[in-house]
Subunit: 135 residues, 2 copies
Amino acid sequence: MNFSASTTHALRAMAWLASHEDGEAVLGRDLARKLKIPPDYLSKVLATLARSGVLTAARGAKGGYRLARPAARIRLWEVVAPFEGKRARSSCLLRPDRPCRDSGACSAHTAWGGVNEAYRKFLDNTTVADLSEAS
Amino acid sequence: MNFSASTTHALRAMAWLASHEDGEAVLGRDLARKLKIPPDYLSKVLATLARSGVLTAARGAKGGYRLARPAARIRLWEVVAPFEGKRARSSCLLRPDRPCRDSGACSAHTAWGGVNEAYRKFLDNTTVADLSEAS
DNA sequence: GTGATAGTGGATATGTATATCCATTGGATC
DNA sequence: GATCCAATGGATATACATATCCACTATCAC
């Protein structure tokens, strides 16, 4: 019931950008220092986020990262998806490798489906604006 | 929103034992063959489950594995806990490494807490008897 | 255009989960 | 107690996520 390190880095970076918007782009190394994340690792995470369209990256002097849209319009799902990949796809408790056929589903299946639904809805209905990182 | 391979193996093994109880102990290699799990890997998983008290292992001729209690009395949490370890501990979205202080919690925190609560309740209220593996 | 700056990407380590191999131990049966 | 059988445990291999290092490219400022 946790996200991977990459996903958490992504969420924290997005949260920080959201709470420090003032028109200025934020440098990757500043972000890394503030969030205490290895700079070279964070840069890969940010590149992934840029490719998937939730933030923009500008090179050269005066460059840096900023949110691609207002934070309230970026769903957590968009941030999480590129990193959680397959893991996030809900499926059978007992056979996560293949699609779950409901026929013959055990009684635990329904309850587990409910948990997955709550998870999916959370990622769908929560936006980056709902996150806030203190420092 | 998935369990690790070890956890899934554990759940499937427990489910199989629950639906094939007839007083006979089940051999590890038979279990591995039926569930198509690498035998030597499964044996480690089963050893862990035995140590944590949800199944009993008997050596020698006529040996094998069986549930330590009726399936309806084994909560999924007991099966999952030894493998999910830290990962299962709910915490901050943004700082999973340290305990979450509620003061200053972001608005996403409450919603995420609800998802975690659903997850915890599922593992607490569902038993091995609620699982069933077809073949 | 020249130089400085900042993101990009390739190659490479490290750690952990997953998987395999094989020798050893403990228990059942005779 | 001799023997067989099945779980146990140590050592090792593989895969992937995480992390680091460094060279390259794109952009801005002058």
